[in-house]
Amino acid sequence: MGKLFVIATLIIPFGYLVVNTFLQAWGADPAKAIVHRSGEITLWLLILVFLATPMQRILRLGYLVKFRRQVGVAMFVYGVIHLMLYLTAYLGWDIDALAKDFIERPYIVVGGVGLLLAMPLALTSNSWSVKWMGPRWKALHRLVYGIAPLAVLHVAMQVKVDFTESIIYGVLCALLFVLRSQKLQKRLSLIIN
């Protein structure tokens, strides 16, 4: 029941993308609007995944971790949607343009590597893989520590004039790293509970 609810919730942003496209509500430059929005959704889901473990330990909310895998898979799926929208709306599926973008524009490479790193995590986000891989599963899923900074860098590298948003994401990302400290988690947990 809870699982179904989580999955339904994770589909809402997709519905939002579809409805806005259907209503032509993206404004003058729909290509840019939808590519940016799908990227933001991906980033927020990444933050949510990252937040699950420390929140569980600090606030003792066990159910957060139960749904972490679903949120992680959703993050990857939205990342792929983001990539597809970039290929469709920005490049019109011009493969030469993609090759050029990849060579000339480092933020495209950074985003691409981030998404690529997320793929094995999404593919192994099932109970069978957890059992089969044993301790290697945990090791593999530490890749998320690499993905988060890449995602923030991908955003920051595109800033033209106002770094406020990138700084917020950067600080949030750093904070999430700090919250990984078990000592800190214990201490915060004692204070809060």
Partner: protein, 316 residues
């Protein structure tokens, strides 16, 4: 020789239909009333303009609808998002508006904006506007040739450049208060004197036959159609004729990304955007309206001679 054809007679019928449809869908999407009134044309003064018959002055491309021209803007003084200027620009006090004109000219003074263009016949120019971010619009401007304004002020022989400055007024321009800004204010732009005197270069006071709105650079802005949009400085309060090349805002902020010339050039990429193609707005998600970018934004016949012998790869 100039024919009197008001802009509305040449606007394609479907553009009007689009505008109607937009207003309908905007109402459906329950946009705020204030942004609707910002986008409506009815409360603006009609500007009597004649159509220019200068080669290149009237692009044959389909016009970008009014609500997009006035609702999707890069004017960082009013915020970093394209939708910010329409929300914030109404705060701008447009009257009185003084323009400080100085440097190497015979009649330096602080002019009222109306005084500066008084007596010079307003012309309509339909120009393609190519943003450095690889999107473009087609806009019917109303304005006067910059050369006519400068001629009247008496440009001195030693003047080699024109330097322009945008208003600095953080109380009305919230973007100027941004803590982590990548550029300095006031915004500075500049042209070489031959670029400034070129007949296609105008000082605009209106678009779509009406007064300019704040988000489009009211009450006075530059329009240089063969250069990337950021060269066409908005809400000008200072014009100075100089001997030295002015240090322009973007060139100062990121010299490897933005040069002084910023001529539209599909062969020279910006580090973050390919300049080979552009999205002609408005587009759709699955029909992004991607077209090839033309050298000098399609004005090569008129302006290429200004740059003959220059390496456009190094002088970007």
């Amino acid at each position: 020789m100039q024919k009197k054809i008001p802009w509305y007679e040449i606007t394609p019928e479907e553009t009007y239909q689009n505008r109607r449809d937009f207003l309908k869908s905007a109402a459906l999407a329950s946009l705020s009333l204030s942004s609707l009134s910002q986008a409506s044309e009815s409360n603006l003064d009609y500007l009597p303009a004649t159509q220019s018959n200068l080669p290149g002055a009237l692009a044959a491309d389909e016009l970008t609808p009014f609500e997009h021209v006035t609702g999707y803007n890069n004017f960082y003084e009013f915020g970093a998002n394209k939708q910010d200027p329409i929300k914030n620009a109404h705060r701008l006090t447009l009257s009185p508006w003084k323009v400080d004109v100085g440097g190497l000219i015979d009649r330096p003074a602080v002019y009222d904006v109306d005084e500066l263009i008084k007596g010079l016949g307003l012309e309509e120019r339909i120009y393609r506007l190519r943003c450095v971010e690889a999107w473009s619009m087609v806009i019917p401007w109303v304005g006067v040739p910059l050369s006519a304004v400068l001629d009247r002020l008496g440009v001195q022989g030693s003047a080699k450049y024109v330097r322009f400055e945008t208003l600095y007024r953080p109380s009305e321009m919230p973007g100027q208060k941004t803590l982590f800004s990548g550029i300095d204010y006031p915004y500075i732009e500049g042209l070489r004197i031959d670029e400034a005197m070129h007949p296609l270069t105008i000082l605009a006071v209106g678009l779509y036959g009406k007064d300019l709105l704040g988000q489009n650079g009211a009450p006075l802005r530059l329009v240089v159609p063969w250069k990337y949009g950021f060269k066409s400085i908005k809400s000008i309060v200072k014009i100075e004729l100089t001997e030295e090349k002015p240090l322009t805002t973007w060139a100062k902020s990121a010299p490897h990304e933005y040069g002084f010339y910023a001529n539209v050039n599909p062969k020279v990429s910006h580090p973050r955007w390919s300049q080979a193609r552009e999205r002609r707005l408005p587009g759709g998600v699955f029909s992004p309206n991607i077209i090839d970018t033309q050298m000098f934004n399609g004005y090569a016949d008129q302006v290429a001679s200004l740059y003959s012998g220059m390496n456009l790869r190094t002088n970007y």
